[in-house]
């Protein structure tokens, strides 16, 4: 029964144009992002010299330090510009970007953190689950009359696989990007990379679960997609910060407490290859808790509600 549901839903996915268009859009977005990070001389644009860059790089050689690097680079650039005493600086756009010398794993981790994958996964899930309601698809599947939870399980499994496909597409795009625009193609596959890959994929699965739960609850593909877009754009981060402050005050928690640390998207955005064990464990628990909650809420609504 489950196998039949999987085959049927897989065929439905195969027939959806968005199944193939979304990865192409992802390739385009990731390629563009990687071009900016590897092929555009961002430091040069800020007016930094090679020696400035090297000193800045001492402050941050990893993905974690890039923000510090940029800040320092900007300051150095201002300094260099003031040293020119009115001379027009030579602006060079193409060149070695901040990730030019990095390995594929690092570039991939940056790509995952961009949350483009989640944005497109939300659209996929919204369409895939939303179509069930807009077309009344389940009316055709009377055979699953008493086993509608099984049907949803097949759907969520395929969503998980699609999230994996998007993850792999991102990784392959990172490889191609480095081959075309980076210094070299060093994959950098080690334990940290595998943990990063698996945990961020599981977080993506949980994210897909949340979007599907919203779609199931509202029976609207627009609602699911909108939630996915809001989360992947970080539109709730300000609200989250305010809520964190209130909770800190009310419960007397430490200033480090941030609600965002317990959300799926902020865990994806903040996780790096160098995240410590505590961070990874928290991300993993978040993925499991959110996915489980989303799954059971979906099943509850599906089983309780009439079709059509």
């Amino acid at each position: 029964m489950f196998g039949k549901a999987l085959k049927s839903e897989l065929y439905r996915i195969k027939c959806m144009k968005s199944t193939f268009i979304l990865p192409l859009v992802l390739i385009g977005l990731i390629f563009l992002t990687n071009f900016i990070y590897t092929g555009v001389d961002l430091y040069g644009l800020l007016g930094m010299s090679q020696s400035d860059l090297e000193s800045v790089q001492e402050q941050g050689t990893s993905a974690e330090g890039y923000m510090d690097s940029f800040r320092a680079g900007f300051e150095a650039g201002l300094q260099t510009a003031s040293d020119l005493d009115g001379e027009e600086p030579q602006i060079k756009i193409l060149g070695e970007g901040p990730l030019y010398h990095e390995d594929v794993a690092t570039v991939f981790s940056m790509d995952v953190g961009s949350l483009y994958g989640q944005l497109l996964l939300a659209i996929f899930v919204g369409i895939f689950i939303g179509d069930v309601y807009s077309t009344g698809h389940d009316k055709n599947l009377i055979v699953f009359g008493g086993k509608r939870g099984l049907l949803f399980t097949a759907r969520i499994l395929l969503i998980s696989l699609y999230a994996l496909v998007l993850h792999i597409v991102m990784w392959l795009t990172a490889i191609i990007s480095m081959a075309l625009m980076g210094e070299s193609v060093f994959l950098g596959i080690d334990k940290a990379f595998i943990i990063f890959f698996v945990v961020t994929w599981l977080l993506s699965v949980a994210f897909g679960g949340l979007v599907s739960a919203m779609t199931n609850i509202t029976r609207s593909k627009a609602a699911g997609i909108t939630l996915g877009i809001i989360l992947s754009l970080g539109a709730l981060s300000t609200l989250m910060s305010v809520a964190s402050l209130i909770i800190q005050k009310k419960l007397g928690l430490e200033p480090e407490f941030n609600l965002g640390n317990y959300t799926v998207t902020q865990n994806i955005a903040a996780m790096t290859l160098y995240s410590d064990g505590h961070f990874v464990l928290r991300a993993l628990i978040c993925a499991i808790v959110y996915f489980t909650a989303a799954y059971f809420i979906s099943v509850l609504f599906i089983k309780k509600r009439d079709i059509g």
Binding site: K7, T135, H137, F144, G145, D306
Partner: protein, 307 residues
């Protein structure tokens, strides 16, 4: 004793404060074509949804006595087209059918082609179902309902949007499926004349309640031509009717007699009643088709509404 495929017991569905279906008891015989007649909003679709497992009854129950195993297992032997056909508009007719076929464990291309041929849309090719005419969509809906070769077909207004030729084709197809494959069919339609050409049994539903459940024979009896006599002396009139050799008559109430045979001899009957000094308020031939009968029993037009 007749073998029932489906029996419902006080089936009730309440949406918030509205009783859509109110204690419905229907008995669908194995191999019958059961017509469900009712106005819009009478509760036909809700009944169909409940027995197809698409909606949960608020109270009451239904049992597929004609299938072996539980009701959940019976769902694998049911095909349904309820409300509008559940069609993926961006897919072809073939792909729409294939999705359902795979869910039923059928992977044969020829099977899909046969179903499309059966409903009369074999050549839609790569045309998307969303661009189909209403009739084509309806036919695709019927084809979807037929996937899995069900023993029980639930069809909610299946001839909606079909042209006269299409209606005739679907009718022929359903009669063929019923006769050759023994498929039991539950069908609702607003076109009662069309339904009367198909159905072997009927239930008339009004405001969520079954007003009448009868066989085609019984219904034809009720709809056939008859002499309706209104008299305050029913008991005195009966010997006169007997003496004239009328065999089929019934006393409807204390003022009305219906005589079904020899309706052309109404003048003779009238004369004999007068001779016997029986006061006659009115006498005339009444006839009604299924539609008129339906309107009468549901009280839509004034008449002898039955409770």
């Amino acid at each position: 004793m007749e073998e029932y495929l489906l029996v419902t017991k006080d089936l009730t569905k309440i949406y918030k404060e509205t009783k859509a279906v109110d204690g419905v008891n229907i008995h669908i015989k194995k191999g019958s074509i059961y017509g469900l007649i009712g106005k819009n909003g009478a509760g036909k679709t809700t009944i169909m949804k409940m027995i197809a497992g698409l909606a949960t009854p608020t109270s009451g129950s239904f049992e597929y006595t004609g299938f072996e195993g539980s009701t959940k297992e019976a769902f694998s032997r049911i095909g349904a087209l309820i409300e509008s056909p559940a069609i993926e508009p961006n897919l072809t007719a073939y792909d729409n059918l294939k999705i359902k076929c795979l869910a039923y464990g059928i992977g044969d291309k020829q099977y899909i082609k046969e179903k499309l041929e059966l409903v009369g849309i074999p050549n839609t090719g790569k045309k998307k179902a969303g661009k189909f005419s209403l009739g084509q969509k309806q036919r695709l809906g019927v084809a979807l309902a037929l996937v899995g070769d069900p023993d029980f077909l639930i069809l909610d207004e299946p001839i909606n949007g079909l042209d006269p030729q299409g209606i005739a084709e679907v009718r022929e197809m359903l009669i063929k499926l019923n006769a050759q494959k023994g498929i039991t069919i539950l069908i609702s339609s607003h076109i009662l004349e069309e339904l009367s050409k198909l159905a072997t049994d009927y239930a008339i539903i009004d405001s969520g309640r079954i007003v009448e459940e009868s066989t085609n024979k019984e219904l034809k009896e009720k709809c056939r031509d008859k002499i309706a006599i209104k008299t305050p002396s029913v008991s005195a009139a009966i010997p006169v009717i007997d003496s004239l050799g009328f065999k089929e008559y019934s006393v409807v109430n204390d003022k009305t007699i219906h005589v079904f045979d020899k309706v052309t001899e109404i003048s003779v009957l009238n004369m004999e009643l007068a001779k016997a000094q029986i006061p006659v308020e009115s006498i005339g031939i009444e006839s009604s088709d299924l539609e008129e009968y339906f309107l009468k029993v549901t009280g839509t037009i004034p008449g002898d509404r039955k409770e």
